[in-house]
């Protein structure tokens, strides 16, 4: 739990530096969709941030077991990815944009979004794991 809080603090520090040094909100879904869809110099800023994320993954995947390969079959993974991409843009943010950045500045929109995705996420896990018994604990 201490490591979780410490890791979270690093995420908070990253969001803080990105705001103060780059003047932008560290919402990953916004950064990714901006890199995909918006042209101009800001695109390179976003791509740099994304590169940093992926590089950290390469490092941790090479030397630790903290970045395991997904265990879910490809079809449900693709279905979930589509929902995450579409939903985060429709709702204007994800766990970082609404969860970390939004809640930090007491945004009511973000609070509503976080409560909503936590509830539908928990319901989904409940149905998949305990009703349909599909999600087998790994």
């Amino acid at each position: 739990m201490l490591l979780a809080i410490f890791g979270g603090a690093l995420i908070g520090l990253s969001a803080s530096l990105y705001w103060s040094l780059n003047g932008r909100i560290a919402g990953i879904s916004g950064i990714l969709s901006g890199a995909l869809l918006n042209r101009g110099s800001e695109r390179w800023l976003r791509l740099s941030f994304l590169l940093g994320l992926v590089v950290s993954g390469v490092g941790f995947a090479s030397f630790t077991n903290r970045v395991p390969a997904p265990t879910l079959p490809l079809l449900p993974l693709a279905f979930a990815g589509l929902l995450v991409g579409f939903g985060t843009r429709m709702g204007g943010g994800c766990t970082s944009g609404h969860g970390v950045c939004g809640l930090s500045r007491l945004s009511v929109r973000s609070l509503l979004a976080v409560l909503t995705f936590m509830v539908t996420g928990a319901l989904t896990v409940f149905v998949l794991r305990h009703v349909l018994k599909l999600w087998v604990p790994s």
Binding site: A4, F6, G7, G8, A9, L10, I11, G12, L13, S14, A15, S16, L17, W19, N22, I25, I28, G30, S33, G34, L36, N38, F49, L50, G52, L53, V54, V58, A61, V67, P70, T71, A78, F79, A80, G81, L82, V84, F86, G87, M90, G91, G92, G93, T95, S96, H98, G99, S104, S107, R109, S110, L112, F117, V119, T120, G121, L123, F126, H130
Partner: protein, 150 residues
């Protein structure tokens, strides 16, 4: 150029935080969402740590009157509570519950080189384009987002 370096550093730091806190393992996310099973509070700890640091930072930098540390303003917050906000968050939550991935950890998982991570990220990108593709292509200045702020 300096902006690119700081953005790269912020991305790295963000990813290290996700990895250290265990958020890049979908099993940990599912364990947090599984409230009727063996519940794990770790994700709440991550959020707590992140919000404690970021909220404090925002308060401190917003107060610096000379404006050297920051602009002295808080990020703009949207006010509108609407169907898109709730509907979008609801859809995201379902995808999150199915896979155990939200956008950040999914991108970090690309670093594992696993086919599943690539498929998830590709589908996620497709979902984003599907949602805001047409209008966003026409936006000239990329400094702004085409949709609402978090």
């Amino acid at each position: 150029m300096k902006g690119l370096v700081t953005a790269l550093g912020c991305g790295l730091l963000f990813g290290v935080g996700l990895c250290l806190s265990g958020m890049t393992d979908p099993a940990n996310i599912i364990a947090f969402l599984d409230v009727s099973g063996k519940w794990s509070p770790n994700l709440a700890g991550v959020m707590l740590g992140a919000i404690a640091v970021h909220a404090t930072w925002l308060r401190l930098t917003a107060r610096s009157a000379d404006g050297t540390a920051a602009t002295g303003v808080l990020p703009a917050s949207g006010k509108r509570l609407d169907g898109a906000l709730v509907g979008g968050a609801a859809l995201f939550g379902v995808g999150w519950g199915v896979s155990g991935y939200c956008p950040g950890p999914a991108l970090v998982a690309l670093g594992s080189g696993a086919a599943g991570a690539l498929v998830f990220v590709a589908a996620m990108a497709a979902g984003m384009v599907l949602r805001e593709g047409r209008s966003a292509w026409t936006i000239k200045d990329s400094g702004r987002r085409s949709t609402s702020l978090p």
